[in-house]
Protein backbone atom coordinates (compact mmCIF):
# COMPACT_ATOMS: atom_id res chain seq x y z
CA UNK A 1 0.00 0.00 0.00
CA UNK A 2 1.28 3.49 -0.80
CA UNK A 3 2.29 5.70 2.10
CA UNK A 4 -0.28 8.32 3.04
CA UNK A 5 0.88 11.91 3.43
CA UNK A 6 4.26 11.03 2.00
CA UNK A 7 5.84 9.82 5.25
CA UNK A 8 7.47 6.67 4.00
CA UNK A 9 10.37 7.22 6.37
CA UNK A 10 10.26 8.07 10.03
CA UNK A 11 10.27 11.82 10.71
CA UNK A 12 13.39 12.95 12.49
CA UNK A 13 13.12 12.96 16.29
CA UNK A 14 10.01 10.79 16.34
CA UNK A 15 11.58 8.20 18.62
CA UNK A 16 12.63 10.75 21.21
CA UNK A 17 9.27 12.46 21.05
CA UNK A 18 7.45 9.17 21.60
CA UNK A 19 9.58 8.35 24.63
CA UNK A 20 8.96 11.78 26.13
CA UNK A 21 5.23 11.55 25.48
CA UNK A 22 5.05 8.13 27.10
CA UNK A 23 7.13 9.26 30.04
CA UNK A 24 5.30 12.51 30.76
CA UNK A 25 2.14 11.13 32.42
CA UNK A 26 4.20 9.01 34.82
CA UNK A 27 6.34 11.97 35.83
CA UNK A 28 3.29 14.18 36.34
CA UNK A 29 1.25 11.58 38.25
CA UNK A 30 4.05 10.39 40.52
CA UNK A 31 5.18 13.94 41.26
CA UNK A 32 1.62 15.13 41.97
CA UNK A 33 0.92 12.14 44.19
CA UNK A 34 4.05 12.51 46.31
CA UNK A 35 3.73 16.28 46.45
CA UNK A 36 0.10 16.00 47.63
CA UNK A 37 1.02 13.40 50.21
CA UNK A 38 4.10 14.94 51.68
CA UNK A 39 4.22 18.59 50.66
CA UNK A 40 0.61 19.60 51.17
CA UNK A 41 -0.28 20.44 47.56
CA UNK A 42 -3.65 19.52 46.11
CA UNK A 43 -3.21 18.32 42.52
CA UNK A 44 -5.08 15.04 42.82
CA UNK A 45 -7.86 15.88 45.30
CA UNK A 46 -8.39 14.71 48.84
CA UNK A 47 -7.19 11.14 48.25
CA UNK A 48 -4.07 11.45 46.07
CA UNK A 49 -3.11 7.79 46.53
CA UNK A 50 -6.32 6.45 45.03
CA UNK A 51 -6.29 9.02 42.21
CA UNK A 52 -2.66 8.33 41.36
CA UNK A 53 -3.10 4.57 41.56
CA UNK A 54 -6.07 4.73 39.18
CA UNK A 55 -4.33 7.06 36.73
CA UNK A 56 -1.29 4.77 36.53
CA UNK A 57 -3.59 1.81 35.90
CA UNK A 58 -5.43 3.64 33.13
CA UNK A 59 -2.16 4.68 31.47
CA UNK A 60 -1.04 1.06 31.53
CA UNK A 61 -4.12 0.13 29.53
CA UNK A 62 -3.63 3.02 27.11
CA UNK A 63 -0.05 1.96 26.39
CA UNK A 64 -1.08 -1.68 25.96
CA UNK A 65 -3.70 -0.52 23.48
CA UNK A 66 -0.95 1.52 21.81
CA UNK A 67 1.05 -1.64 21.14
CA UNK A 68 -2.02 -3.22 19.54
CA UNK A 69 -2.69 -0.12 17.49
CA UNK A 70 0.67 -0.16 15.67
CA UNK A 71 -0.15 -2.85 13.12
CA UNK A 72 -3.55 -1.47 12.07
CA UNK A 73 -1.95 1.98 11.79
CA UNK A 74 0.76 0.56 9.55
CA UNK A 75 -1.81 -1.09 7.34
CA UNK A 76 -3.90 2.03 7.00
CA UNK A 77 -1.07 4.52 6.56
CA UNK A 78 1.77 2.46 5.20
CA UNK A 79 4.09 3.91 7.86
CA UNK A 80 5.98 0.70 8.37
CA UNK A 81 8.64 2.41 10.47
CA UNK A 82 6.08 2.44 13.31
CA UNK A 83 6.79 -1.26 13.87
CA UNK A 84 9.97 -0.75 15.86
CA UNK A 85 8.18 1.51 18.36
CA UNK A 86 5.90 -1.26 19.53
CA UNK A 87 8.60 -2.38 21.91
CA UNK A 88 8.89 1.15 23.36
CA UNK A 89 5.18 1.24 24.10
CA UNK A 90 5.21 -2.27 25.52
CA UNK A 91 8.10 -1.53 27.85
CA UNK A 92 6.42 1.67 28.99
CA UNK A 93 3.23 -0.30 29.68
CA UNK A 94 5.34 -2.55 31.90
CA UNK A 95 6.86 0.46 33.65
CA UNK A 96 3.39 1.90 34.30
CA UNK A 97 1.97 -1.33 35.63
CA UNK A 98 5.00 -1.59 37.93
CA UNK A 99 4.33 1.90 39.27
CA UNK A 100 0.64 1.01 39.64
CA UNK A 101 1.61 -2.05 41.66
CA UNK A 102 4.16 -0.14 43.73
CA UNK A 103 1.60 2.54 44.52
CA UNK A 104 -0.85 -0.12 45.60
CA UNK A 105 1.58 -2.02 47.82
CA UNK A 106 3.55 0.88 49.34
CA UNK A 107 1.15 3.81 49.44
CA UNK A 108 -2.29 2.20 49.48
CA UNK A 109 -1.98 -1.10 51.34
CA UNK A 110 1.28 0.16 52.88
CA UNK A 111 3.15 -3.11 53.13
CA UNK A 112 6.28 -2.59 55.20
CA UNK A 113 5.14 0.92 56.06
CA UNK A 114 2.06 0.57 58.23
CA UNK A 115 2.43 -1.41 61.43
CA UNK A 116 -1.17 -2.55 60.96
CA UNK A 117 -0.58 -4.32 57.65
CA UNK A 118 1.44 -7.47 57.04
CA UNK A 119 2.35 -9.74 54.13
CA UNK A 120 -0.52 -11.99 55.12
CA UNK A 121 -2.92 -9.17 54.25
CA UNK A 122 -1.55 -8.70 50.76
CA UNK A 123 -1.50 -12.46 50.19
CA UNK A 124 -5.15 -12.58 51.19
CA UNK A 125 -5.92 -9.68 48.85
CA UNK A 126 -4.24 -11.41 45.92
CA UNK A 127 -5.69 -14.86 46.50
CA UNK A 128 -9.17 -14.06 47.78
CA UNK A 129 -10.20 -10.99 45.82
CA UNK A 130 -10.77 -11.92 42.18
CA UNK A 131 -10.19 -8.43 40.74
CA UNK A 132 -6.79 -8.31 42.40
CA UNK A 133 -6.01 -11.90 41.37
CA UNK A 134 -6.72 -11.01 37.76
CA UNK A 135 -4.71 -7.79 37.94
CA UNK A 136 -1.78 -9.63 39.44
CA UNK A 137 -1.99 -12.32 36.77
CA UNK A 138 -1.87 -9.66 34.07
CA UNK A 139 1.23 -8.18 35.70
CA UNK A 140 2.95 -11.56 35.99
CA UNK A 141 2.27 -12.30 32.32
CA UNK A 142 3.91 -9.02 31.37
CA UNK A 143 7.16 -9.94 33.11
CA UNK A 144 8.36 -12.54 30.54
CA UNK A 145 7.41 -10.19 27.71
CA UNK A 146 9.52 -7.39 29.15
CA UNK A 147 12.42 -9.77 29.83
CA UNK A 148 12.38 -11.14 26.27
CA UNK A 149 12.10 -7.77 24.58
CA UNK A 150 15.79 -7.44 23.72
CA UNK A 151 17.16 -8.20 20.24
CA UNK A 152 19.28 -10.96 21.73
CA UNK A 153 16.28 -12.69 23.27
CA UNK A 154 14.28 -12.35 20.06
CA UNK A 155 17.08 -14.09 18.17
CA UNK A 156 17.54 -16.74 20.82
CA UNK A 157 13.86 -17.66 21.12
CA UNK A 158 13.24 -17.76 17.36
CA UNK A 159 9.76 -19.04 16.55
CA UNK A 160 8.89 -19.33 20.22
CA UNK A 161 9.25 -15.59 20.65
CA UNK A 162 6.23 -14.95 18.44
CA UNK A 163 4.24 -17.56 20.32
CA UNK A 164 5.16 -16.11 23.70
CA UNK A 165 4.35 -12.59 22.62
CA UNK A 166 0.84 -13.56 21.60
CA UNK A 167 0.20 -12.84 25.28
CA UNK A 168 -0.20 -9.19 24.22
CA UNK A 169 -3.75 -10.15 23.21
CA UNK A 170 -4.51 -11.72 26.59
CA UNK A 171 -2.96 -9.15 28.93
CA UNK A 172 -5.11 -6.12 28.01
CA UNK A 173 -8.24 -8.27 28.30
CA UNK A 174 -7.23 -9.18 31.85
CA UNK A 175 -6.47 -5.51 32.49
CA UNK A 176 -9.90 -4.35 31.38
CA UNK A 177 -11.62 -7.11 33.38
CA UNK A 178 -9.59 -6.04 36.43
CA UNK A 179 -10.71 -2.44 35.94
CA UNK A 180 -14.33 -3.46 35.36
CA UNK A 181 -14.45 -5.55 38.54
CA UNK A 182 -12.79 -2.86 40.63
CA UNK A 183 -15.47 -0.21 40.14
CA UNK A 184 -18.49 -0.17 42.40
CA UNK A 185 -21.39 0.53 40.11
CA UNK A 186 -20.61 3.02 37.37
CA UNK A 187 -18.98 0.92 34.64
CA UNK A 188 -18.98 3.70 32.01
CA UNK A 189 -15.21 4.10 31.86
CA UNK A 190 -14.19 0.44 31.88
CA UNK A 191 -16.89 -0.10 29.24
CA UNK A 192 -15.24 2.48 26.99
CA UNK A 193 -11.90 0.69 27.38
CA UNK A 194 -13.59 -2.66 26.71
CA UNK A 195 -15.21 -1.33 23.54
CA UNK A 196 -11.93 0.05 22.24
CA UNK A 197 -10.14 -3.22 22.98
CA UNK A 198 -12.91 -5.22 21.34
CA UNK A 199 -12.44 -3.09 18.21
CA UNK A 200 -8.69 -3.74 18.16
CA UNK A 201 -9.11 -7.48 18.68
CA UNK A 202 -11.88 -7.71 16.09
CA UNK A 203 -9.61 -6.09 13.53
CA UNK A 204 -6.91 -8.69 14.32
CA UNK A 205 -9.32 -11.59 14.03
CA UNK A 206 -10.61 -10.37 10.69
CA UNK A 207 -7.08 -9.80 9.43
CA UNK A 208 -6.08 -13.31 10.44
CA UNK A 209 -9.07 -14.73 8.56
CA UNK A 210 -8.17 -12.79 5.42
CA UNK A 211 -4.56 -13.96 5.64
CA UNK A 212 -5.64 -17.57 6.05
CA UNK A 213 -7.99 -17.31 3.10
CA UNK A 214 -5.29 -15.80 0.92
CA UNK A 215 -2.91 -18.59 1.85
CA UNK A 216 -5.23 -21.30 0.53
CA UNK A 217 -5.45 -21.93 -3.20
CA UNK A 218 -7.94 -19.58 -4.78
CA UNK A 219 -11.07 -21.24 -6.16
CA UNK A 220 -11.77 -21.04 -9.91
CA UNK A 221 -14.65 -18.64 -9.27
CA UNK A 222 -12.32 -16.21 -7.52
CA UNK A 223 -9.75 -16.52 -10.28
CA UNK A 224 -12.36 -15.66 -12.87
CA UNK A 225 -13.59 -12.69 -10.85
CA UNK A 226 -10.05 -11.36 -10.58
Amino acid sequence: MAPVGGIARQPRGFGVLLVLAALAPAVVVVYAMLSDLFMGSNWLGADPVKSGEHLLGEWTLRLLFGTLLITPLRRVTGWNWLAKHRRTLGLFAFAYVSLHLLTWTLLDVQIGISEYVGWADIKKDILKRPFITIGMLAFLLMVPLAVTSTKKMIARLGKNWRKLHRLVYVIPVLGVVHYWMAVKLDITEPAIYALFLAGLLYWRARQARITRAAATVPSPAETVAA
Partner: protein, 315 residues
Protein backbone atom coordinates in the same frame (compact mmCIF):
# COMPACT_ATOMS: atom_id res chain seq x y z
CA UNK B 1 -27.19 11.97 75.42
CA UNK B 2 -26.48 10.84 78.93
CA UNK B 3 -23.09 11.76 80.24
CA UNK B 4 -22.38 8.23 81.46
CA UNK B 5 -22.71 6.72 77.98
CA UNK B 6 -19.71 8.67 76.67
CA UNK B 7 -16.10 7.51 76.88
CA UNK B 8 -15.20 10.13 79.44
CA UNK B 9 -11.50 10.12 78.70
CA UNK B 10 -11.97 11.20 75.14
CA UNK B 11 -14.29 14.13 75.27
CA UNK B 12 -14.31 17.50 76.86
CA UNK B 13 -16.77 17.52 79.71
CA UNK B 14 -19.53 19.87 78.72
CA UNK B 15 -18.96 21.92 81.85
CA UNK B 16 -15.32 22.56 80.96
CA UNK B 17 -16.31 23.34 77.40
CA UNK B 18 -18.93 25.87 78.53
CA UNK B 19 -16.74 27.33 81.22
CA UNK B 20 -13.98 27.99 78.78
CA UNK B 21 -16.35 29.59 76.34
CA UNK B 22 -17.69 31.89 79.03
CA UNK B 23 -14.19 32.56 80.19
CA UNK B 24 -12.93 33.35 76.72
CA UNK B 25 -15.90 35.59 76.11
CA UNK B 26 -15.13 37.46 79.30
CA UNK B 27 -11.47 37.65 78.43
CA UNK B 28 -12.39 38.97 75.04
CA UNK B 29 -14.46 41.74 76.58
CA UNK B 30 -11.54 42.73 78.73
CA UNK B 31 -9.19 42.46 75.80
CA UNK B 32 -6.80 40.84 78.22
CA UNK B 33 -4.89 38.57 75.90
CA UNK B 34 -1.97 38.48 78.27
CA UNK B 35 -4.13 37.11 81.03
CA UNK B 36 -5.60 34.35 78.88
CA UNK B 37 -2.42 32.41 78.24
CA UNK B 38 -1.48 31.55 81.80
CA UNK B 39 -5.10 30.99 82.70
CA UNK B 40 -5.48 28.40 79.93
CA UNK B 41 -2.25 26.82 81.03
CA UNK B 42 -3.86 26.12 84.35
CA UNK B 43 -6.36 23.70 82.86
CA UNK B 44 -3.90 21.96 80.53
CA UNK B 45 -3.28 19.37 79.24
CA UNK B 46 -6.86 18.11 78.81
CA UNK B 47 -8.06 21.49 77.67
CA UNK B 48 -5.27 22.03 75.18
CA UNK B 49 -6.72 19.63 72.62
CA UNK B 50 -10.26 20.58 73.37
CA UNK B 51 -9.52 24.26 72.92
CA UNK B 52 -8.77 23.65 69.24
CA UNK B 53 -11.98 21.74 68.74
CA UNK B 54 -14.18 23.66 71.11
CA UNK B 55 -15.22 26.17 68.50
CA UNK B 56 -16.15 23.41 66.05
CA UNK B 57 -18.30 21.43 68.44
CA UNK B 58 -18.26 18.76 71.09
CA UNK B 59 -16.06 15.78 70.23
CA UNK B 60 -17.78 12.41 70.40
CA UNK B 61 -15.75 9.21 70.51
CA UNK B 62 -12.61 10.77 69.07
CA UNK B 63 -9.28 9.01 69.51
CA UNK B 64 -6.28 10.99 70.75
CA UNK B 65 -4.92 11.09 67.19
CA UNK B 66 -8.17 12.27 65.60
CA UNK B 67 -8.22 15.78 64.19
CA UNK B 68 -11.06 17.29 62.19
CA UNK B 69 -10.50 17.21 58.44
CA UNK B 70 -10.32 20.52 56.64
CA UNK B 71 -13.52 22.15 55.43
CA UNK B 72 -12.07 21.82 51.93
CA UNK B 73 -11.64 18.03 52.23
CA UNK B 74 -15.04 17.53 53.81
CA UNK B 75 -16.84 19.50 51.10
CA UNK B 76 -14.90 18.42 48.02
CA UNK B 77 -14.51 14.66 48.40
CA UNK B 78 -17.51 12.43 48.96
CA UNK B 79 -19.98 10.07 47.38
CA UNK B 80 -23.36 11.44 46.32
CA UNK B 81 -24.32 9.47 43.21
CA UNK B 82 -27.28 11.75 42.54
CA UNK B 83 -24.64 14.20 41.29
CA UNK B 84 -22.20 11.74 39.70
CA UNK B 85 -20.11 8.77 40.72
CA UNK B 86 -16.70 10.45 41.06
CA UNK B 87 -15.61 11.78 44.44
CA UNK B 88 -15.27 15.30 43.05
CA UNK B 89 -18.50 15.13 41.02
CA UNK B 90 -20.91 16.18 43.79
CA UNK B 91 -19.13 19.48 44.32
CA UNK B 92 -18.85 20.09 40.59
CA UNK B 93 -22.46 19.20 39.76
CA UNK B 94 -24.50 20.24 42.79
CA UNK B 95 -23.89 23.98 42.75
CA UNK B 96 -27.14 24.86 40.95
CA UNK B 97 -29.25 22.62 43.18
CA UNK B 98 -31.90 24.63 45.05
CA UNK B 99 -32.97 23.55 48.52
CA UNK B 100 -35.50 26.27 49.30
CA UNK B 101 -38.32 25.67 49.87
CA UNK B 102 -37.91 22.13 51.23
CA UNK B 103 -40.67 19.93 52.55
CA UNK B 104 -40.18 16.85 54.69
CA UNK B 105 -43.00 14.32 54.71
CA UNK B 106 -43.46 12.31 57.89
CA UNK B 107 -45.70 9.29 57.46
CA UNK B 108 -46.34 5.66 58.25
CA UNK B 109 -46.85 4.34 61.74
CA UNK B 110 -46.92 7.69 63.55
CA UNK B 111 -49.60 9.54 65.43
CA UNK B 112 -48.69 12.87 63.81
CA UNK B 113 -48.05 12.41 60.09
CA UNK B 114 -47.73 15.46 57.90
CA UNK B 115 -45.80 17.62 55.49
CA UNK B 116 -43.46 20.04 57.21
CA UNK B 117 -41.48 22.97 55.98
CA UNK B 118 -37.89 22.20 56.91
CA UNK B 119 -37.64 25.17 59.28
CA UNK B 120 -40.80 24.18 61.17
CA UNK B 121 -39.66 20.56 61.21
CA UNK B 122 -36.45 21.41 63.05
CA UNK B 123 -37.43 24.50 65.03
CA UNK B 124 -38.46 22.70 68.25
CA UNK B 125 -35.04 21.02 68.54
CA UNK B 126 -31.85 22.51 69.81
CA UNK B 127 -29.09 22.68 67.19
CA UNK B 128 -25.88 21.02 68.28
CA UNK B 129 -22.34 21.01 66.93
CA UNK B 130 -20.76 17.59 67.25
CA UNK B 131 -17.47 16.26 65.95
CA UNK B 132 -17.86 12.68 64.74
CA UNK B 133 -15.67 10.10 63.06
CA UNK B 134 -16.84 9.10 59.59
CA UNK B 135 -15.82 5.78 58.06
CA UNK B 136 -16.65 5.10 54.41
CA UNK B 137 -17.24 1.49 53.35
CA UNK B 138 -14.45 2.07 50.79
CA UNK B 139 -11.93 2.08 53.68
CA UNK B 140 -11.21 5.80 53.89
CA UNK B 141 -12.28 8.02 56.74
CA UNK B 142 -12.59 11.58 57.98
CA UNK B 143 -13.36 13.46 61.18
CA UNK B 144 -16.20 15.91 60.62
CA UNK B 145 -17.79 18.67 62.70
CA UNK B 146 -21.50 18.34 61.96
CA UNK B 147 -24.35 20.65 62.98
CA UNK B 148 -27.79 19.20 63.49
CA UNK B 149 -30.38 17.77 65.83
CA UNK B 150 -30.75 14.35 67.47
CA UNK B 151 -32.82 12.12 65.20
CA UNK B 152 -34.59 10.81 68.31
CA UNK B 153 -36.09 14.27 68.94
CA UNK B 154 -37.77 14.36 65.57
CA UNK B 155 -39.06 10.80 65.78
CA UNK B 156 -40.40 11.32 69.28
CA UNK B 157 -42.36 14.36 68.06
CA UNK B 158 -43.85 12.31 65.24
CA UNK B 159 -45.17 9.84 67.83
CA UNK B 160 -44.34 6.32 66.62
CA UNK B 161 -47.13 3.84 67.24
CA UNK B 162 -46.42 0.60 69.05
CA UNK B 163 -46.31 -1.24 65.71
CA UNK B 164 -43.41 0.89 64.42
CA UNK B 165 -40.16 -1.09 64.27
CA UNK B 166 -38.11 0.63 61.56
CA UNK B 167 -37.51 4.09 60.13
CA UNK B 168 -37.20 4.53 56.38
CA UNK B 169 -35.60 7.59 54.80
CA UNK B 170 -35.95 8.68 51.19
CA UNK B 171 -33.95 11.15 49.12
CA UNK B 172 -35.53 13.60 46.71
CA UNK B 173 -36.24 12.11 43.29
CA UNK B 174 -35.90 14.78 40.62
CA UNK B 175 -33.62 13.82 37.70
CA UNK B 176 -33.81 17.38 36.35
CA UNK B 177 -32.22 18.74 39.51
CA UNK B 178 -30.14 15.67 40.31
CA UNK B 179 -28.45 14.74 37.04
CA UNK B 180 -26.98 11.49 38.36
CA UNK B 181 -30.50 10.10 38.61
CA UNK B 182 -30.56 10.03 34.82
CA UNK B 183 -28.28 6.99 35.05
CA UNK B 184 -29.56 3.80 36.61
CA UNK B 185 -26.67 3.06 38.93
CA UNK B 186 -29.10 2.63 41.78
CA UNK B 187 -32.84 2.16 41.95
CA UNK B 188 -33.74 5.81 42.56
CA UNK B 189 -34.77 7.37 44.79
CA UNK B 190 -32.07 6.44 47.31
CA UNK B 191 -33.57 4.77 50.36
CA UNK B 192 -32.04 4.07 53.71
CA UNK B 193 -33.31 2.63 56.95
CA UNK B 194 -32.61 2.08 60.61
CA UNK B 195 -34.16 -0.11 63.24
CA UNK B 196 -36.24 2.12 65.52
CA UNK B 197 -33.92 1.57 68.48
CA UNK B 198 -30.95 2.55 66.33
CA UNK B 199 -32.77 5.66 65.18
CA UNK B 200 -33.60 6.59 68.77
CA UNK B 201 -29.95 6.30 69.82
CA UNK B 202 -28.65 9.69 70.96
CA UNK B 203 -25.69 9.55 68.55
CA UNK B 204 -27.90 9.35 65.45
CA UNK B 205 -28.28 12.81 64.01
CA UNK B 206 -30.22 14.72 61.37
CA UNK B 207 -27.69 17.14 59.99
CA UNK B 208 -28.17 20.56 58.41
CA UNK B 209 -24.66 21.95 58.64
CA UNK B 210 -20.97 21.29 58.70
CA UNK B 211 -18.24 23.37 60.30
CA UNK B 212 -20.92 25.61 61.79
CA UNK B 213 -22.17 26.60 58.33
CA UNK B 214 -25.14 25.47 56.28
CA UNK B 215 -24.57 22.11 54.64
CA UNK B 216 -23.21 22.64 51.10
CA UNK B 217 -25.35 21.01 48.41
CA UNK B 218 -22.71 18.36 47.69
CA UNK B 219 -22.86 17.13 51.29
CA UNK B 220 -26.59 16.42 51.20
CA UNK B 221 -28.29 19.76 51.76
CA UNK B 222 -30.57 20.69 53.25
CA UNK B 223 -31.10 17.64 55.48
CA UNK B 224 -29.12 14.44 55.82
CA UNK B 225 -28.63 11.56 58.20
CA UNK B 226 -25.41 10.91 60.14
CA UNK B 227 -24.99 7.62 62.00
CA UNK B 228 -21.35 7.62 63.09
CA UNK B 229 -21.04 3.92 63.96
CA UNK B 230 -22.19 2.84 60.51
CA UNK B 231 -20.53 3.07 57.10
CA UNK B 232 -21.00 6.41 55.41
CA UNK B 233 -23.49 5.22 52.81
CA UNK B 234 -26.10 4.89 55.56
CA UNK B 235 -25.97 8.69 55.83
CA UNK B 236 -28.70 9.35 53.28
CA UNK B 237 -28.69 12.87 51.84
CA UNK B 238 -31.28 15.46 50.79
CA UNK B 239 -34.05 13.71 52.72
CA UNK B 240 -37.67 14.40 51.72
CA UNK B 241 -39.48 11.59 53.51
CA UNK B 242 -39.26 9.82 56.84
CA UNK B 243 -41.56 6.86 57.26
CA UNK B 244 -42.08 4.58 60.24
CA UNK B 245 -42.71 0.99 59.26
CA UNK B 246 -43.18 -2.44 60.78
CA UNK B 247 -41.10 -4.24 58.12
CA UNK B 248 -37.40 -3.77 57.40
CA UNK B 249 -37.13 -1.10 54.69
CA UNK B 250 -35.32 -1.76 51.43
CA UNK B 251 -32.09 0.18 51.26
CA UNK B 252 -30.41 1.41 48.08
CA UNK B 253 -27.04 -0.32 48.26
CA UNK B 254 -28.24 -3.62 49.66
CA UNK B 255 -30.77 -3.75 46.82
CA UNK B 256 -28.09 -2.97 44.24
CA UNK B 257 -25.40 -5.42 45.47
CA UNK B 258 -26.81 -7.55 48.30
CA UNK B 259 -23.64 -9.64 48.62
CA UNK B 260 -21.54 -6.56 49.40
CA UNK B 261 -23.83 -4.22 51.32
CA UNK B 262 -26.29 -5.14 54.05
CA UNK B 263 -29.02 -3.36 55.98
CA UNK B 264 -26.97 -2.86 59.14
CA UNK B 265 -23.65 -1.71 57.64
CA UNK B 266 -22.08 -1.31 61.05
CA UNK B 267 -18.40 -0.46 60.89
CA UNK B 268 -16.65 -3.74 61.69
CA UNK B 269 -12.93 -4.38 61.20
CA UNK B 270 -13.48 -8.13 61.45
CA UNK B 271 -15.94 -8.46 58.60
CA UNK B 272 -14.30 -7.73 55.25
CA UNK B 273 -15.99 -6.32 52.22
CA UNK B 274 -15.77 -9.07 49.56
CA UNK B 275 -13.37 -6.93 47.54
CA UNK B 276 -11.22 -5.39 50.26
CA UNK B 277 -10.25 -5.63 53.90
CA UNK B 278 -12.05 -3.49 56.46
CA UNK B 279 -9.38 -3.98 59.13
CA UNK B 280 -7.67 -0.66 58.49
CA UNK B 281 -8.51 2.64 56.84
CA UNK B 282 -6.76 5.58 55.25
CA UNK B 283 -7.62 8.87 56.90
CA UNK B 284 -8.08 11.58 54.29
CA UNK B 285 -5.37 14.19 54.76
CA UNK B 286 -2.82 11.85 56.26
CA UNK B 287 -0.65 9.17 54.77
CA UNK B 288 -0.46 6.32 57.24
CA UNK B 289 -3.19 3.75 57.67
CA UNK B 290 -4.95 3.60 61.00
CA UNK B 291 -6.80 0.62 62.46
CA UNK B 292 -10.54 0.55 61.94
CA UNK B 293 -12.37 0.41 65.26
CA UNK B 294 -15.39 -1.72 66.12
CA UNK B 295 -18.49 0.38 65.51
CA UNK B 296 -16.08 3.08 64.33
CA UNK B 297 -15.01 3.78 67.91
CA UNK B 298 -18.54 4.03 69.31
CA UNK B 299 -18.74 0.47 70.65
CA UNK B 300 -19.18 1.60 74.27
CA UNK B 301 -22.32 3.47 73.30
CA UNK B 302 -23.91 1.24 70.66
CA UNK B 303 -22.67 -2.35 71.01
CA UNK B 304 -25.59 -3.22 73.28
CA UNK B 305 -27.99 -2.58 70.38
CA UNK B 306 -26.61 -5.68 68.71
CA UNK B 307 -26.02 -8.07 71.58
CA UNK B 308 -26.70 -11.65 70.54
CA UNK B 309 -26.66 -10.82 66.83
CA UNK B 310 -24.32 -12.53 64.37
CA UNK B 311 -22.58 -9.48 62.93
CA UNK B 312 -20.90 -11.56 60.24
CA UNK B 313 -24.28 -12.50 58.88
CA UNK B 314 -25.94 -9.16 59.58
CA UNK B 315 -23.32 -7.07 57.79
Amino acid sequence: MTRSALPSSEITPESVYLDRRRFLAAAGVLGAGLVVAPALGACAPAAADASQQGSLGTPYGLQPYDKPNSYEDVTSYNNFYEFGTGKEDPKANAQQFTTKPWTVKVEGLVSKPGDYQLEDFLKPSKMEDRIYRMRCVEAWSMVIPWRGVPLADVIRRAGPTSAAKYVEFTTLYDPKRMPGQGMRYLDWPYNEGLRLDEAMHPLAMLVTGVYGRDLPNQNGAPLRLVVPWKYGFKGIKSIVRIRLTSAMPKTAWSEAIPSEYGFYANVNPEVDHPRWSQATERRIGQFRRIPTLMFNGYADQVASLYSGMDLRRNY
